[in-house]
Amino acid sequence: MVLFSLPEPFFTLFQILIFPGLLFALLFVMFMVWYERKLLAKMQVRVGPLYAGGLEGILQPVADFAKLLFKEIIVPKQADRMFFILAPTLMMALSVSMLALVPLSPTNAIANSNVAILMIIALLSLSPLVVIVAGWASNNKYSMIGGLRALHQMTSYAIPMSLSILGVVLMAGSFNLISIVESQKSAWYILLQPLGAIVFYLAALAELERVPFDIPEAETEIVMGWETEYSGINYGIIMTATYVKFYALAVLFTELFLGGWLGPAFVPPPIWTILKTFLVVTVMMIPRGVYPRFRIDQMLKFGWTTLLPLSLINLVLGLVVMNFLG
């Protein structure tokens, strides 16, 4: 969807900064925050945000962000100052890089890379590093425990996620996301590899530290885990980075399993991607209202002994199906 033709460098800048880049992503993230609070509220027999912004509290995330801007950034006395302040920025860099690699449609791609999948897996594997840096730099027993738990969790669940992505790559024959979506013209991969979709879904919930896998920020024992000492805009950046990663992983799920921007032509392709992402985001938010959290050893056991074999079985099944389909 090219609204107007711009000379080349300006068009890329437009894509990076406005659509589908930073501005759109931030607006979508703010909408997602409001949407999650409203969805949870309806499940819990209450109303969510109501007063900020006139209509059903739509400007509540803006109000929260503004409040965080006004708060003081408290750096603990014996914390490692440089890393303490840098860690949220590193997180944001990782999440936003992931954003650049997932295209919303063939003409709305910031970076159409032939190794997009590999780079995304690499970025996902870097996130536990940032978390442990944040936990260590806080100089706090609780943060250390939380950081270690997050490290265990993210590392264990990166492997099933990579294997489920590998199943799709085998079927599509390419690491390029645009080619993967184009190869789903006959059938969406969620029908051909349902196991892979489920494994990716669960591993994504674990990578994002969402309930029921939110043990690293288990409020009741270790206050906020590795995020304990962060206040003010530092914390705002961490929250934004988490939600941007959520958005990026949801778009990835849409393009790997739900056919990306494929659909009847009365709606432009990027809008299809956005609608399907919306659906995926809803399904990922619902477990937050339904399940309590797992214990760390149960969660690790689940990741290694259940998800990993399932993803391997999914690979084998994918090869068998490919053989039959020619």
């Binding site: 027999v45 209450r46 109303v47 109501l50």
Partner: protein, 137 residues
Amino acid sequence: MTLRYPESKMQLPPGYRYPEGGFKGRHILDMQKCAGCSICAYTCKNIAGAIKMVTVEGAFARNRKRIFPQIDYGFCVFCGFCVDTCSFGALNMGQDFELSSYDKKQLIYSPEQLTASAGSSGLARFIVSRNGAHHRE
């Protein structure tokens, strides 16, 4: 199920009287009936220490010494024992519960302030059925 306070407020039972019972809100003093016997202050002294007898201006038929109770809502626990012990029925409780203020001194209600019978009752009621519980106007 959320009550959208303060736009809608709950409907309250009538004020507390002994021995019928009722809602324990801010006290309502009838200065024509009060005889200044100070039993309410004596009862409250060991519970919350909220009632102090003060002298007011004016002429009252039953109250030669012109002493009446003054209630400090920073201390009152709304137990209602003062109402139980008033043998003249002068002290009762009403429906007013919105008593917060910015200043501790404003919480001390003089006898004249206690005669006002403002209420905080609204129109919303709790409707409970097998399907759910809602607040309805």
